[in-house]
């Protein structure tokens, strides 16, 4: 006691001890209810909402990237499809042209062949007719000669010979 009584600065005053303890505890309860809880909760809620916003922004970014890559994929596919279609079309075109060409060539050949055949046929027909005519003519000549020369036997013989010499050409 005497130790503490020596210097009033280090002598704790019972009244102030009492008031400080009581006041501090009351202040703690009051501030806890009316200040700290609302402030801390609001700050916490805001931080949570900021975190959420950041997370959703991140999500949106990822989705965007996903969408972009999807788009690119679709575009690529479309491009490929277009290329394929074009290629096919080109092939079809070429095929068509080739076919047409072949067909035309074939037709032309056939027409030529037909024409040659016809020509050949006509030639043969003409030759046959010629032969026939030649035969008729020969017969007619022979008849005539025979008529003329039947009287004169010598002369007939000479005529036949002479005539035959002329018809030897064919």
């Amino acid at each position: 006691m005497s130790l503490l009584a020596l210097n009033p600065l280090v002598k704790p005053d019972i009244g102030l001890l009492f008031w400080t303890t009581v006041t501090f505890l009351i202040l703690l309860v009051l501030l806890r209810k009316f200040a700290w809880k609302p402030i801390l909760n609001a700050v916490k809620a805001r931080e949570a909402s900021i975190d959420n916003a950041l997370a959703s922004a991140e999500n949106a970014r990822e989705e965007m990237a996903q969408l972009k890559s999807d788009n690119e994929k679709i575009l690529k596919e479309a491009r490929e499809e277009r290329d394929a279609i074009l290629k096919e079309a080109r092939e079809i075109k070429e095929n068509t042209i080739n076919e047409a060409k072949e067909k035309a060539a074939g037709e032309a050949k056939r027409i030529l062949e037909d024409a040659q055949e016809q020509i050949e046929n006509q030639k043969m027909a003409a030759i046959t007719e010629l032969k026939n005519q030649v035969g008729e003519i020969s017969i007619a000549i022979a008849e005539k000669i025979l008529r003329d020369e039947l009287a004169d036997k010598g002369k007939q013989q000479a005529l036949v010979d002479e005539q035959l010499k002329d018809f030897n050409l064919n």
Binding site: L6, N7, V10
Partner: protein
């Protein structure tokens, strides 16, 4: 002048050297690793408080004596 006052002075000298060391080393640490300055600062203050605590006992004794 009393002996207690001299004792208080000696306690303060000790604390001064101690806190000077703590602060100086903390500065070096921060200079070497600026990114750790927050942690160094906290540790520095705690160490300084402990050194100061020792000096305060000396001062209280000199106040009571």
């Amino acid at each position: 002048m009393s002996f207690a006052a001299i004792g208080a002075g000696l306690a303060v000298i000790g604390a001064g050297i101690g806190i000077g060391q703590v602060g100086g080393r903390a500065m070096e640490g921060i200079a070497r690793q600026p990114e750790a300055s927050g942690k160094i600062q906290t540790a520095m203050i705690i160490a300084a408080a402990l050194v100061e605590g020792a000096a305060l006992f000396g001062i209280v004794v000199s106040l009571i004596a």
